[in-house]
């Protein structure tokens, strides 16, 4: 079977594109780094891919607010394309800055089409944090199927505090099983310890921690004491996406 094609969307300030591509490659996908200008100028087409990944970074400097300017650009330039992409059963993953973009563009949690129902705001500490966290994944999403009971991944963000618009949104997320990652020891003040959510279809997922930074054993902070594993916990997330496309699309 042909390898699933993954578009890794990049623009000014995208940082984690290469390691995200490497993760998808390890998972059996065929990643391609594409600048948003190439889509906007119709040099490349979203419909030619099965997975859209928006990687981490500081798009446009995170000026105004993290992910905001890219979210705005997507809303005005690619809105219909992305809607069509999702509606045709394809997959979307947003990591860190990519998660911020998906939330601020109203794509996640996506309860009422296009409406912004949550945000990612400054960490309670007021500062950027790079550290490893333990996460509890939920089974309800394509990307999180079959993960271990707890997984370890690094976070690296200044604005990762997840805040839903209000309690009714939070309750809906809980009810529909859209909260797919929770921090065991909340590092940023996120409401309900939320580290990642998906949309109602379970095919669009965003998370603050970086699965692409833990695909190799040597990336773990304690591999010299706990033993060197061949693969990291994050790889399974990319495999889930790639395998889903292979099976269903």
């Amino acid at each position: 079977m042909k390898k699933p094609r993954v578009i890794i969307l990049r623009t000014a300030g995208t940082n984690c594109d290469k390691e995200t591509a490497s993760a998808f490659k390890m998972a059996g996908g065929e990643p391609e780094l594409v600048h948003i200008n190439e889509l906007a100028r119709n040099e490349k087409f979203l419909k030619d891919y099965q997975i859209l990944a928006i990687p981490g970074g500081f798009t446009y400097g995170d000026d105004i607010a993290s992910g905001k300017i890219l979210a705005n650009e997507i809303k005005y330039k690619l809105n219909e394309d992305i809607k069509g992409f999702i509606n045709s059963g394809k997959l979307v993953i947003g990591i860190c800055n990519g998660f911020q973009v998906l939330v601020k563009a109203g794509i996640l949690p996506g309860l009422n089409s296009g409406a912004v129902e949550a945000t990612l705001s400054f960490n309670d500490s007021g500062s950027f944090i790079d550290k490893w966290v333990e996460l509890e994944p939920q089974e309800t999403c394509v990307w999180t199927k079959g993960l271990k009971e707890t997984i370890e991944l690094p976070i690296a963000h200044g604005e990762g505090k997840f805040i839903p618009r209000d309690n009714s949104i939070l309750n809906q997320l809980r009810k529909t099983g859209q909260i797919v990652f929770k921090y065991i020891d909340n590092p940023n003040g996120s409401i309900d310890d939320i580290a990642g959510i998906c949309d109602v279809t379970g095919r669009v997922m965003g998370m603050m921690p970086h699965p692409e930074r833990y695909t190799l054993g040597t990336q773990h902070p304690r591999w010299t004491r706990e033993g060197l594993k061949e693969f990291g916990d994050g790889l399974a997330i990319f495999k889930n996406g790639v395998d889903y496309v292979k099976e269903k699309l």
Partner: protein, 966 residues
């Protein structure tokens, strides 16, 4: 029409920024502040109707969940100099709005304008941001002023808004060409010096006379532009004229003439060692060594001390931005893969009244510098994975900020050569009035007026411009679209074009440069050090393709001239010649410096040791000292894992919070080959003897490489000298002596220098009295590791393992941290026995290759006691040790515990590996000193059998973590 949009947090939303400022206010000793809130203000002018501005505010600028906006279009009126205040029943609220000074880069402008265009709104003419602070509580007017000046704004780049309109006009003036010449031919010596001083040229009389002679031959006066070009090229910053000068050196009655210190010490090591894997040394922007069959790696460390002293945030940010451009300018551009940052500050607990006039408090400088590196480095997507921070009172007036970057590039992209006829292309950021006179400014001393006189030399960077430029350049490089590239650093176009065209000649039409705003004179365009710019040499036939790549990624680039073959530097402005200089004179016409240098051995008080029997308290105090204590507060603010290549992170151990010795990255996902980066720095040894300091710094950097499992085989060094004013013979003398140390020890270890930097004149004068920093040498090491899966960390791994000390401890308490906490310096700074040291390094490398080292930590500040404590609490395990079998030249517990002798390690070995390990170490001084225990305590028995340290590891860790838990 000018609109003002204020973005505020909604009620009930926690404001972490305001909360942080509240904490800082408490640190200032001001009580009574109940709450601080911060709001962001956008000033947008242009032809925009109200419904559109509402859309901009509601959809783009304010977060719909956490924020709301207030819209106004009135020009604010003067508030009589005092900020608005309102009184409530019990509390009082003060408000102040802080804006950037005209000409200072506001990084938000470009991206916010783009976002507004994306919304289909095109009328924006300008966009600026401001911050508004609301301070609630009962404080005096004086307190409020203090808060504003000490925390909320820096007058070098910002001001409190009083009235609008007056200041923003400055850059709207158009420029009318007028050629300016300087009357040098008719000037006597006094007048020549006045020209140098008034023009901030920082040229001495001999140099001015030489320039006069040159123009006399030409029969004309220089233009301002020519004089500026010469001053930039001849500045200490660009020319390293002290190191290359002639020095008369006196030590203990003997005199020695040194013709070019650099060639006779640092570069001599490299020339004599002739390592085949050294690809390019002391030529390019950075030193280049071979990595594997396909790629080379390069490494450069720069300093950005004076800008960071005046504006810590902007200074350190542009420091890191600058060294990244250095790496982009190596060969045909290398990809930056790691940053390292080393800082020296005054102690954070310095009393406010001890801070000299015109200077910021060390804590404010430190916080600003860390934020600057964080915001620039993180946005660039380059991991900041290594560093060090040192504190001493002598840095209060002049902090040190070293920024380093490692890069990787294909072998065939490691060299450059512009060709006659190639076009000169300027790419990246636009040219503005910012950063005028940075190169010459950094070559002079700081005074309490530096903030006002040289404020043009201080800038705010825009990392996203540089990130775009980086991504695009690497694409263009891989398509072979240009023949040479150089960064615009100090000296701007002047030094970039001057350097690239050095052996060819160059012509530039200055009006072609893209400007941030109108009104720049031809000279300002030429010498502006505006950030994020690179200069490329582009063959005519590839220009079109190059430009189209840049355009695709929204990076601006423009042809400003071409390289010639007439060996002249010719500049025009709208056809008028404004500069016409010989490249030969420009680059080789500088008269050589002659300097006197003297070094004499100082005498210090020794520490007293009146039969002390327990050292637990000393150990706790050392762990809590500023230099030794945990730097986690800083490290976690840096993204040290982006690019996904980290193998050993800066923090290691069972809780990911122990102090790792060196960082390792693995630049290719499919290869086990890695790069180790470490550094050695210890100015306290230099108080006593700069020669021993230099040897110890080299030893320390190499120790860390070995401790993490590396070897000396493919290891190279960078030198970085930050010194006082070397016009003064004592400062120069210690510089010479440190250089001698560099030569002797690096040569003996067989480790070449590949690049270096010097920053002299690190002095601060108050009322005529000049305070110098201690001569501070930073040695950085880069080492290629064949198999990163053999890496070793310093945290203890398992109960029952054996603990060895490797290397002999000597009676070398001089400059130690034991002496520091006991308020003395001492006189015997650690020497390096490189013959013995080399044996130790090589054997230990073998040991780690065989996988025998379970943990390994080098001994440095705090000696063996600190190392054992760090290994124990990092591993969550205890240690039982006795000093009887530790090899030491004198049997004194205090010395064994706290001496900082070089080339020593603590190693953890499995019991079952005892024999193999001891056989491997035959002929080397080692001692089996104890075992890892499960008891979570550090217990040390002295040579006489008495317990001299007994303390729980939690208490040790708390002492170590507490000071910088901000």
């Amino acid at each position: 029409m000018e609109w003002k949009i204020e973005i505020r947090n909604r009620k009930g939303v926690f404001d972490p920024l305001g909360n942080g400022i509240k904490k800082d206010i408490q640190d200032l000793g001001i009580k009574g502040v109940k709450k601080v809130n911060v709001s962001q203000v956008f000033i947008i002018s242009g032809d925009i109707a109200r419904p559109d501005i509402e859309r901009i505010a509601g959809e783009l600028l304010a977060d719909p969940i956490t924020e709301s906006y207030i819209l106004g279009n009135e020009r604010r009126t003067a508030t009589k100099g005092s900020p608005e205040r309102s009184r409530g029943a019990n509390s009082e609220r003060r408000v102040v709005e802080i804006a950037y000074n005209p000409g200072v880069m506001d990084p938000v402008e470009e991206s916010a304008r783009k976002a507004i265009r994306d919304m289909g709104i095109y009328g924006v003419k300008s966009l600026r941001t401001e911050r508004k602070y609301f301070i609630e509580g009962k404080i005096t007017e004086g307190d409020f002023k203090n808060i504003c000046e000490k925390l909320l704004y820096n007058k070098v780049i910002q001001h409190a808004v009083k009235e609008r309109g007056a200041k923003s006009k400055e850059h709207s003036n158009s420029y009318k060409f007028k050629l300016i010449t300087i009357d040098m031919l008719g000037a006597d010596d006094k007048r020549l010096m006045k020209i140098s001083k008034d023009g901030q040229l920082f040229l001495n009389l001999k140099e001015m006379q030489e320039i006069k002679k040159y123009f006399k031959k030409l029969g004309r006066n220089p233009t301002d532009c020519e004089l500026e070009t010469i001053a930039q090229t001849w500045s200490e910053h660009c020319g390293h004229k002290t190191f290359r000068g002639i020095i008369e050196y006196k030590e203990e009655g003997k005199t020695k003439i040194i013709d070019n210190l650099l060639k006779n010490t640092i570069m001599k090591v490299t020339n004599e060692l002739k390592k085949p894997w050294c690809v390019s040394v002391f030529k390019d922007n950075a030193g280049v060594i071979r990595f594997d069959e396909d790629d080379n790696v390069c490494f450069k460390v720069e300093t950005h001390n004076h800008p960071s002293a005046l504006e810590p945030y902007g200074g350190s940010g542009t420091g890191i931005g600058g060294v990244i451009r250095d790496i982009l300018g190596v060969g045909l551009a290398a990809k930056p893969i790691m940053n390292t940052d080393i800082f020296c500050f005054g102690p954070p607990d310095t009393a406010h009244k001890k801070v000299p006039k015109g200077m910021m408090h060390p804590k404010r400088i430190m916080k600003g510098v860390v934020r600057g590196v964080r915001d620039y480095g993180n946005r660039m997507g380059i991991p900041t994975a290594n560093g060090a921070v040192l504190f001493d009172e002598l840095y209060i007036g002049n902090p040190l900020v070293y920024c380093g970057t490692v890069g990787i590039m294909p072998k065939d992209k490691s060299f450059k050569a512009s060709r006659c006829g190639d076009l000169i292309v300027a790419a990246g950021g636009r040219t503005g009035r910012d950063g005028i006179h940075g190169a010459t400014f950094s070559s002079g001393e700081l005074t309490h007026e530096s903030g006002t006189v040289s404020s043009g030399a201080v800038q705010i960077g825009n990392p996203i411009t540089e990130k775009k430029l980086t991504d695009t350049l690497l694409k263009a490089r891989d398509k072979n679209l240009y023949t040479a590239i150089t960064d615009c650093g100090a000296g701007g176009f002047s030094s970039a074009v001057g350097e690239m065209g050095r052996y060819l000649g160059a012509e530039v039409d200055l009006e072609k440069a893209l400007l941030k705003y109108r009104g720049l004179s031809y000279t300002e365009i030429w010498i502006s050090e505006a950030q994020e710019r690179m200069v490329l040499s582009v063959p005519r036939e590839t220009l079109k393709e190059l430009m189209s790549i840049f355009k695709k990624e929204d990076v601006e680039a423009v042809v400003i001239g071409c390289f010639t073959s007439n060996k002249r530097l010719k500049l025009r402005y709208n056809g008028n010649v404004v500069c016409d200089l010989d490249m030969e004179f420009l680059h080789n016409g500088i008269p050589r410096f002659k300097r006197k240098a003297v070094w004499s051995r100082p005498g210090y008080k020794e520490s007293e040791n009146k039969g002390k029997e327990n050292f637990t308290r000393d150990l706790l105090r050392i762990l809590s000292s500023w230099n030794v204590c945990s730097k986690e507060w800083i490290i976690r603010q840096y993204d040290h894992e982006v690019q996904g290549q980290s193998v050993l992170k800066p923090l290691v151990g069972i809780k990911n919070d122990g102090p790792g010795d060196a960082s390792i990255i693995r630049p290719k996902f499919d290869s086990k080959k890695g790069i180790i980066i470490s550094n050695g720095i210890n100015p306290r040894f230099g108080f006593i003897d700069p020669y021993r300091m230099a040897g110890s710094c080299i030893d320390e950097a190499l120790r860390q490489v070995i401790a993490v499992g590396g070897s000396l085989k493919k290891t190279a060094l960078l030198d970085n000298f930050c010194w006082g004013n070397t016009d003064k013979p004592d400062r120069m003398g210690s510089l010479v002596r440190a250089s001698f140390g560099c030569y002797d020890i690096a040569k003996a270890y067989g480790v070449p220098f590949i690049s270096g930097k010097d920053s002299l004149n690190n002095e601060y004068s108050v009322h005529g009295e000049s305070i110098a920093i201690p001569g501070t040498l930073l040695i950085s090491a880069i080492s290629v590791m064949n198999d990163v899966t053999k890496a070793v960390t310093m945290d203890l791994k398992e109960k029952g393992d054996l603990i060895y000390i490797i290397g002999e401890t000597k009676n070398e308490m001089g400059g130690s941290h034991y002496n520091l906490i006991n308020n003395c310096v001492g006189n015997n700074a650690p020497a390096v026995d490189a013959k013995e040291g080399l044996k130790i390094f090589n054997r230990l490398s073998e040991t780690s290759k065989l996988g025998l080292l379970r943990a390994c930590h080098d001994l440095s500040e705090g000696g063996m006691a600190a190392a054992l404590a760090e290994m124990a609490f990092s591993g969550g395990l205890g240690v039982d040790a006795e000093l009887r079998d530790a090899p030491c030249e004198i049997k004194k517990d205090r010395v064994v515990l706290f001496s900082e002798s070089n080339t020593r390690f603590i190693a953890e070995i499995r019991k079952t590996d005892k024999k193999v390990f001891e056989d491997l170490m035959k002929g080397i001084s080692i001692g089996l000193i104890g075992e890892v225990s499960g008891k979570k305590a550090l217990r040390v028995y002295g040579a006489g059998g008495k317990k001299i340290i007994d303390v729980g590891i939690d208490k040790l860790k708390e002492a170590w973590q507490k000071p910088l838990r901000w």
